[in-house]
């Protein structure tokens, strides 16, 4: 489990990547991050939704209510054009950051 300090810097990056290919609703986003991180990263409702709304207000993602037969209506989030640009930029930045940190602390990839 990572500390909240460690999570904070990467939250937006994780959310943006999770919805990169398909639109997803809030519960799905939280679950996907948990699954892909092997259960290491879990977002509570109190931290996930503020992030989602902040990114929506900035115009990086857009929420849309969708109704499907037999299923409750849900708000699905997708990336906007600006969101894709931010994702690409943040990814690059994160990769460079981790490489730099690894070099300092002496971690190498096998």
């Amino acid at each position: 489990m990572f500390s909240s300090e460690q999570k904070k810097g990467s939250v937006e990056l994780m959310v943006l990547s999770v919805i990169e290919d398909d639109p997803r609703h809030g519960y799905e986003i939280g679950k996907l991050i948990e699954t892909r991180s092997g259960g290491q990263i879990q977002f509570h409702i109190t931290s996930l939704y503020p992030v989602l709304y902040r990114m929506e207000n900035r115009g990086w993602i857009k929420g849309r209510w969708v109704e499907q037969e037999g299923v409750r209506r849900r708000c699905y989030y997708r990336l906007t054009k600006e969101g894709r640009q931010v994702l690409a930029r943040e990814r690059k930045s994160w990769q460079a950051f981790t490489i730099a940190v690894n070099q300092v602390i002496g971690v190498s990839h096998a």
Binding site: T46, P50, Y53, N57
Partner: protein, 906 residues
């Protein structure tokens, strides 16, 4: 499972967020909690355990709410909205009075949102109202300042003005001695005076005043003193300066008291300066007096029954009304006439009674009728604006039927619905009022600066609290008027009808009757306004077409001021001869003549010259004919290119005992009613010692010297060389081949070359003067025409709007008719028939209204009566064409539309 939606709504505190955004967040969080709870149950927890576990996912709702509120700052409602809602909530917890206020706040908020959604509609209606309210407020401000506000004197309602331009000092003194109904009786002789000895010659507006004048008007001294009894003995050598003149001539010098000024060649001592705030009655309608001299009415040439020089004012004694004072004085005049018939009686009419007028009425005079006419006109414009907005709101009310129906179904009572719509109307009209006040501020400033109507007391108009109160009052009134009908209609909606018939089905009996009636009312009111404007315009055109009786082209007038001891008769004749010689030598000068005044030097009721009234006909029969005696040189009429039958004076005429004269045709008809007056000799009293023989050598016809609307005056023109120099005033008439600024300057220099001390304030073109004399009727005609055009457009818009609704309602019927083979012309005729009915109703009503109301502007018309049939017909025709034309567009659109498409949409 718990109702997570209700739970989240209760726990979450997102104050100030827009409603939809808040709902969305609640929905989403509730869904999340539902999913988490379901997940817990799927993992094997019991319902209760899952519920508890889910609750633990948000341990602190307050903190969560704060976090979300921070994030959602961009989605907050405007501060005003939040304030209104929170105030509303607080008020609803108090008594019924506070709840009414809460409802009002809610209605205001609703109206604001409605305005944001429909800005175009609001802009148009506020603009229409603003125009109507602005025009009305402007004219009200003028009326208040000019007609209603009291003059700045103590108890101004007790000051009377003696009607007739001027009286002689002997008559005035008799009244003063015998009248009981006046506390003070004072006269003033207004005359222009020459001030020399300063850095340049000045012409000053002088006032020679009798005792009591300053007391009557409550004047005070800024410096020194006002006149005492001793100052009124003998020649007028003591002077009091007006405040502005003191500033202008002496730079506000505190040591001016005791200094002397040379006025008309005589030394006068300054004893005081008037208070800054003092204004004489003359100062309200003309230029303020610069210098006051103490006049002893018994002194020298002033004590002459023929010296009609005094303008007389009286302060009525307590216990007397204006009518009572007039009656009392006239009673005394009867006795005076018995004692001194020559002074106080006419041979034919008996005692010379006086007629008094309140001072304010006397100052405002003709302007009163003009201003009241304008007030009537703007009131009509305001009514038309109101009717127009009512029509627009009715149409809009029709469109909002569904919205109102939903509100009613959700529990809003008739009263609430009406209150909301009335609030909307009130806000709309108050917004129009605010715009109107802004427009009025501009309008008032324009009136002050331009004063195109020569309105007296114009500097007293202002946008003060009374005017603002008036503007606010009419704004609210118009809002109630135009808002009441749609509000009442909306409140009486048939909800079940809506439910059954679908959208738009809530209207049971709207046949557009009310809209048609409003459109007809607008046409009627616009027609009244247009008729008044048409009459004024007609009158102005007739005035302009009056032949002044001379050709003003290239004519220049120069007012000479020759008062003072050095201007002896011989000096004046010699001076004029030398000046004429210099002027005639200038390039472009074709001729120079001299007279007391030249045509249009003054106009209206003002006359300058001397009046004589005692004549004897060729048969030696005594006749009283009030005529102007106007000395002029022989070439005067030739330069004017006036129509003269007979001839002008010749040098040989002036040597015998007979005086050669040219007379106006109107005088000739009086003095010789039964025969041709040309060549006849008649007799005048009061010209010289004894009786003067006057021989008519020429008769001039059609000469309008005092205004285009003044007719041809009874005038006798003797040679200037014989009778001109006795007057301190003379004027030159200069004929030029073309006038320029440099030519004017050359004329000034030529005169100064012969007399450097003569002030020359007045050099003018006669064409400019004729134009200026028509400035007032032109202004009122133009203003009324402007109002009428606006009214016409509004009325046309009213008809257009009514026809749009009619065509809309009749679409199905019209489509069926088209489908069944009716051609487009039939459809157009059908629509025009309906609009024709509205138009005819409006035109007939308007014509009757115009016939009843235009009589009030009879006194403002020239050459046309207030019921001139030609004007009425033209106006009715224009109104009909415009109204039918406005309905043509909806008719055309209806005829051109595809009937199948229309039926499909139905």
């Amino acid at each position: 499972m718990r109702d997570w939606h209700t739970f989240v709504r209760d726990q979450l505190e997102l104050d100030g967020l827009k409603d939809l955004r808040e709902e969305r967040i609640i929905d989403e969080l509730a869904l999340q909690l539902y999913d988490l709870c379901q997940e817990a149950i799927d993992r094997g927890m019991s319902a209760e355990e899952a519920d508890q576990w889910t609750l633990s996912q948000v341990p602190d709702w307050t903190e969560f709410s704060h976090t979300l509120s921070d994030v959602e700052r961009p989605n907050r409602r405007p501060a005003a909205d939040r304030w209104i809602e929170s105030s509303e909530e607080r008020l609803r917890t108090h008594g019924w009075g506070a709840r009414i206020l809460a409802d009002l706040l809610q209605d205001i908020q609703f109206t604001w949102r409605s305005a944001c959604f429909n800005p175009t509609f609001w802009v148009i209606t506020v603009l229409i109202l603003g125009l109507g309210i602005g025009a009305t407020t402007t004219i009200f401000s003028v009326v208040k300042g000019v007609l209603l506000e009291k003059l700045p004197y103590p108890e101004p309602e007790r000051i009377a003005f003696f009607e007739r331009p001027a009286f002689s000092p002997p008559r005035f003194l008799d009244w003063k001695e015998h009248a009981d109904s006046f506390e003070h009786l004072a006269g003033v002789f207004s005359v222009d005076l020459d001030y020399t000895g300063g850095d340049q010659p000045w012409e000053l507006h002088g006032g020679l005043m009798t005792p009591d004048f300053f007391e009557l008007f409550g004047a005070r001294a800024e410096l020194g003193r006002l006149f005492s009894a001793d100052d009124y003995a003998g020649p007028p050598t003591r002077a009091v300066l007006g405040y502005t003149a003191w500033q202008r001539l002496f730079g506000g010098d505190q040591d001016v008291i005791g200094r002397t000024m040379t006025i008309n060649g005589l030394t006068r001592e300054i004893v005081g300066v008037l208070d800054r705030s003092f204004r004489s009655p003359r100062g309200f309608s003309d230029e303020e007096t610069d210098i006051w001299l103490a006049l002893d009415p018994r002194w020298g040439a002033f004590f002459d029954p023929g010296a009609l020089i005094l303008t007389v004012y009286g302060r009525i004694a307590p216990g007397f009304s204006l009518e009572g004072a007039e009656e009392e004085l006239n009673g005394k005049i009867v006795a005076l006439a018995a004692d001194n018939p020559a002074l106080h009686s006419d041979p034919e009419d008996g005692p010379r009674f006086v007629h008094l007028a309140g001072l304010q009425n006397a100052i405002t005079g003709d302007t009163r009728s003009n201003l009241l006419m304008l007030l009537g006109a703007v009131t009509l414009l305001l009514l038309i604006s109101t009717a127009n907005v009512a029509n627009i709101l009715l149409a809009r009310g029709f469109d909002r039927i569904d919205e109102v129906g939903v509100r009613s179904a959700m529990g809003a009572g008739q009263g609430r619905i009406m209150a909301q719509m009335l609030t909307e109307s009130a806000i709309m009209s108050l917004s129009g009022g605010v715009l109107g006040i802004a427009l009025a501020a501009v309008g008032i400033r324009a009136f002050e600066v331009l004063n195109p109507g020569n309105i007296p007391l114009i500097d007293r108009i202002s946008l003060d609290w009374r005017v603002l109160l008036f503007a606010g009052g009419i704004s609210i009134l118009t809002g109630l008027i135009f808002g009441a009908v749609p509000a009442r209609r909306a409140a009486r909606l048939d909800i079940s009808g809506m439910m059954h018939r679908g959208p738009g089905g809530g209207v049971t009996r709207d046949r557009g009757r009310l809209r048609n009636t409003l459109a007809a009312i607008e046409i009627a009111l616009a027609l009244i306004l247009l008729t008044g404007a048409g009459l004024l315009f007609n009158s102005f055109i007739r005035l302009q077409s009056v032949d002044p009786g001379f050709d003003p082209g290239g004519l220049v007038g120069v007012e000479l001021s020759m008062s003072g001891p050095r201007y002896t008769d011989d000096f004046m004749i010699d001076l004029v001869r030398r000046v004429d010689g210099r002027l005639e030598g200038l390039p472009g000068i074709e001729g120079v003549a001299t007279a007391i005044t030249v045509p249009f030097q003054f106009w209206g009721s003002r006359r300058t010259g001397w009046l004589r009234w005692e004549w004897e006909t060729p048969d030696r029969e005594e006749r009283e004919i009030w005529a102007m005696v106007h000395p002029a040189t022989a070439d005067y009429f030739a330069l004017l290119d006036a129509q003269v039958r007979g001839r002008m004076f010749e040098p040989g005429d002036m040597t015998g005992t007979q005086v050669p004269v040219v007379v106006s045709e109107t005088f000739a008809e009086e003095i010789c009613p039964d025969e041709d007056a040309l060549g006849k000799t008649f007799y005048g009293h009061g010209w010289d010692e004894g009786i003067t023989e006057l021989k008519i050598v020429g008769i001039v016809s059609g000469l309008h010297a005092w205004g285009l609307d003044q007719g041809s005056e009874l005038t006798v023109f003797p040679p200037w060389e014989m009778y001109g120099p006795g007057n301190s005033m003379a004027s030159l008439l200069i004929s030029t081949s073309g006038v320029s600024a440099s030519a004017i300057e050359s004329i000034r220099e030529a005169i100064w070359a012969e007399d450097p001390d003569m002030p020359l304030p007045n050099i003018f073109l006669l064409e400019d003067r004729i134009d200026a004399s028509a400035a007032v009727p032109r202004f009122y005609a133009a203003l009324l025409m402007t109002f009428s055009i606006v009214a016409l457009l509004l009325a046309a818009a009213g008809v257009y709007g009514a026809m749009i609704v009619t065509v809309g309602r009749k679409r199905r019927e019209l489509s069926i008719r088209t489908a069944l083979g009716a051609d487009r012309r039939t459809l157009i005729r059908l629509v025009l028939y309906r609009s024709g009915r509205i138009t005819i109703a409006g035109v007939v009503t308007g014509a009757i209204g115009a016939w009843l109301t235009t009589r009030f502007i009879e006194s403002l018309l020239f050459g046309v009566t207030s019921t001139d049939p030609f004007t009425f017909l033209i106006v009715a025709f224009i109104m009909t064409v415009v109204a039918l034309g406005a309905s043509l567009l909806p008719a055309w659109k209806a005829a051109m539309s595809d009937p199948m498409e229309a039926l499909r949409q139905e």
